[in-house]
């Protein structure tokens, strides 16, 4: 029997939080609403969310917000200027305004970070939970494959991609993603092993659920939170890895204002013209702080075990 949605505000809240939902949709929406409430109660998590939203806005409005062009600079007049009123974060070795480059670079950063998370986390989660649940030789094979990927120096894989697909930030992302998933798999597997023999899993098995259903619907949700924590912690590392790959020529092509590449560039000026690396460094720090807070908040809100 379907219930109609009541129109007034207060009643909406009551309807969502009702202890006796009358349809699956109501239950799901109610749970989502409850999760959001739990999340919102954590002020720091909101700060994190706020910064991330700010990042997205800056990325969208980069053209409007940046005071100068991120690509044009004058070697003779505006090179390596310290922070001032005209250039809030100073200029780099090609005379370009660092703030403008940061603003435009936020697009690339978002792109890199989201793509790696979207590619690597699900793969890791899947491999880990399947391995943990199935056990036996499936576990052994999957874990050995994981080991092979873990043992792979990222640089080798990156160079292989250059051979196959050419330089560029997209291929750098794929290379990073492919070497990032093994830790997630290991963590997911570790979590799976602890709940594999619990009663409620046994109950679901008894009811006759197929292994895939068990893994996807019951085990994975419980592992998601650990993986999320690890992924958010990785955000900074991912951006910095993209910078490291830039040393090899795989990565953002100049003059792209990718933050990691900007830091790599500022490496030679670190001792005297500290601002060249400091600007992007601070930006990376802020963004990873935001993702961290966000991740923690999500973990606290989503993890049924931590529910108060």
């Amino acid at each position: 029997m379907k219930t109609s949605i009541v129109r007034t505000q207060g009643s909406l809240h009551d309807w969502l939080m009702s202890e006796r939902p009358e349809s699956r949709r109501q239950a799901t929406l109610g749970r989502a609403y409850g999760t959001w409430n739990a999340f919102a109660r954590n002020r720091l998590a909101l700060v994190g969310l706020g910064i991330v939203v700010l990042l997205v806005l800056v990325a969208l409005l980069a053209g409007v917000l940046a005071p100068y062009s991120p690509y044009v600079g004058d070697l003779q007049t505006t090179r390596l200027l310290p922070p001032s009123v005209a250039h809030w974060l100073g200029t780099d070795d090609q005379g370009r305004d660092i703030l403008s480059r940061l603003i435009h670079g936020s697009r690339i950063t978002l792109y890199v970070v989201v793509l790696v998370a979207v590619l690597a986390a699900p793969i890791g989660l899947l491999v880990g939970t399947v391995a943990g649940y199935a056990g036996g030789w499936v576990d052994a094979v999957l874990m050995r494959i994981t080991d092979i990927f873990l043992a792979f120096p990222r640089l080798i894989l990156a160079l292989a991609f250059v051979a196959a697909l050419g330089p560029g930030i997209g291929n750098a992302v794929i290379a990073i993603a492919i070497t990032s998933w093994p830790p997630y798999a290991r963590i997911a597997r570790a979590e799976t092993l602890t709940i594999r023999h619990t009663d409620f899993i046994a109950a679901v098995e008894l009811v006759g659920a197929s292994p895939w259903r068990i893994v996807l619907r019951h085990i994975m949700p419980l592992c998601v939170s650990s993986v999320i924590v690890r992924v958010t912690l990785d955000m900074a590392g991912i951006i910095l890895t993209a910078a490291g790959l830039g040393f090899l020529g795989l990565g953002a092509q100049p003059p792209m204002p990718e933050w990691g590449a900007m830091i790599a560039n500022g490496r030679q000026y670190v001792l005297d013209q500290w601002w060249v690396a400091a600007g992007p460094g601070a930006a990376i720090f802020l963004v990873s702080l935001a993702f961290n807070l966000l991740g923690d908040g999500l973990r606290d809100a989503l993890d049924p075990k931590a529910a108060k």
Binding site: G135, A140, M143, R144, I145, T146, D147, I148, L150, A151, F152, P153, R154, L155, I156, L157, L159, A160, V162, A163, A164, P183, R186, I187, A190, E191, L193, T194, R196, H197, S226, V229, L233, A236, G237, L240, A243, G244, L248, I263, R267, V270, L271, A277, G281, I284, F285, S288, L289, N292, R299, K305, A306
Partner: protein, 351 residues
């Protein structure tokens, strides 16, 4: 012993033997897979390995001759087969860059990196675990926030920047530690290298001044690496501890009257160690990989630098040798953590 009991014993040892055999086969397959993929990637890489040997000035006939000498004109699978044969005999080939057998190069550079990573993980885990516990116990308090932000700084700041700043501060300005490199020039030929671990070799030879100097060189880069793993380990410890402290057995233990300290360290932490072990093992592996930039900044002649340099010159013998070593460590660490897992957590023992 009854016949059934004896049969049971035989059955169990047969099973044990089979699982050991399985284990070895799996390991061998892992290595084979690792080597094969690296080998083929190495040949696909757009760098001419002959270039590193003969350089840019060599006339074409020298280039062609060296290519023939290295067997690079043979089909790929044949080259791989030859390589495997040599490896089985213990010959990992010669590095074209250093003109030394790869095994000798690795024996020289590997201990340097291990020394660094081990001290790093000791610092990281030694400080990270207690900090994580503290943050979990005083959840939401000042310590919790400070630990989190401190860890975050260590994690989101580029390592070469942090390393250089640390050098500028502790070495150049404060003179608290020795500078880049493993040893001062004056001690260069005074310590006979046996294991390659300077600390151990110096202690063995009784050269205590050299020991102090080596330690002084080691402490800064190791602390740097330790700082990075500390960030991660303390966070995960906090997370696991929070899990444990919210369990019912903690409430029960408190009700029983056990002291809080005992509950935290003896019970909760012990349970949290189970997944934590995996984390620490992963972190150690991560340090080995992350040592490359540290080795660059601190002029540390380790394996990371060796592999990177070989890679950039397509010195495949060296890269393969290095990959085997690194791969062995990773596989070993994972197996170790698996083993510890099974030992520590009765729930994971399959029935």
């Amino acid at each position: 012993m009854s016949a059934a009991g004896q049969a049971g014993r035989v059955g169990r040892s047969a099973r044990a033997l089979r699982s050991v055999a399985n284990f070895l086969v799996v390991i061998a397959l892992t290595y084979l897979g690792l080597l094969a993929v690296t080998f083929f990637i190495g040949r696909v890489v757009p760098i001419d390995p002959v270039l590193a040997i003969v350089g840019d000035r060599a006339p074409e006939h020298v280039v062609a001759r060296v290519r023939e000498e290295l067997g690079l004109n043979k089909p790929l699978y044949q080259q791989f087969g030859i390589y495997l044969q040599k490896v089985a005999k213990g010959d990992f080939g010669t590095s074209v860059l250093t003109s030394n057998p790869v095994l000798q190069d690795i024996r020289r550079t590997f201990p340097a990196t291990i020394e660094l990573a081990t001290l790093g993980i000791l610092i990281g885990a030694g400080l990270g675990v207690p900090l994580g516990v503290w943050a979990a116990v005083r959840r939401g308090g000042l310590v919790d926030q400070v630990v989190r932000v401190m860890g975050l700084i260590g994690y989101s700041v580029p390592i070469f920047w942090l390393g250089l700043m640390a050098l500028v501060l502790f070495y150049a300005k404060l003179d608290w530690v020795a500078g880049p490199g493993r040893l001062d020039v004056s001690f260069e030929y005074s310590v006979p290298l046996v294991s390659g671990f300077l600390l151990l070799d110096a202690a063995r030879a009784g050269e205590w001044e050299a020991f102090g100097n080596a330690f002084s060189h080691l402490i800064l880069p190791a602390s740097l690496l330790g700082y990075f793993s500390l960030a991660y380990i303390s966070r995960m410890t906090r997370s696991f501890m929070l899990n444990e402290l919210s369990q019912e057995y903690v409430v029960a233990a408190r009700a029983k009257g056990l002291s809080e300290t005992r509950i935290i360290w003896r019970h909760a932490l012990r349970n949290a160690m189970v997944p934590l072990v995996t984390v620490i093992a992963l972190s150690y592996a991560g340090l080995l990989e992350g040592s490359v930039l540290t080795e660059t900044v601190f002029a540390w002649p380790g394996l990371g630098l060796y592999i990177t340099n070989s890679l950039q010159n397509a010195d495949m013998n060296a890269v393969l040798g290095g990959t085997i070593v690194v791969g062995t460590i990773f596989v070993g660490l994972n197996l170790l953590s698996d083993l510890l897992y099974r030992l520590l957590d009765p729930r994971t023992r399959s029935r």
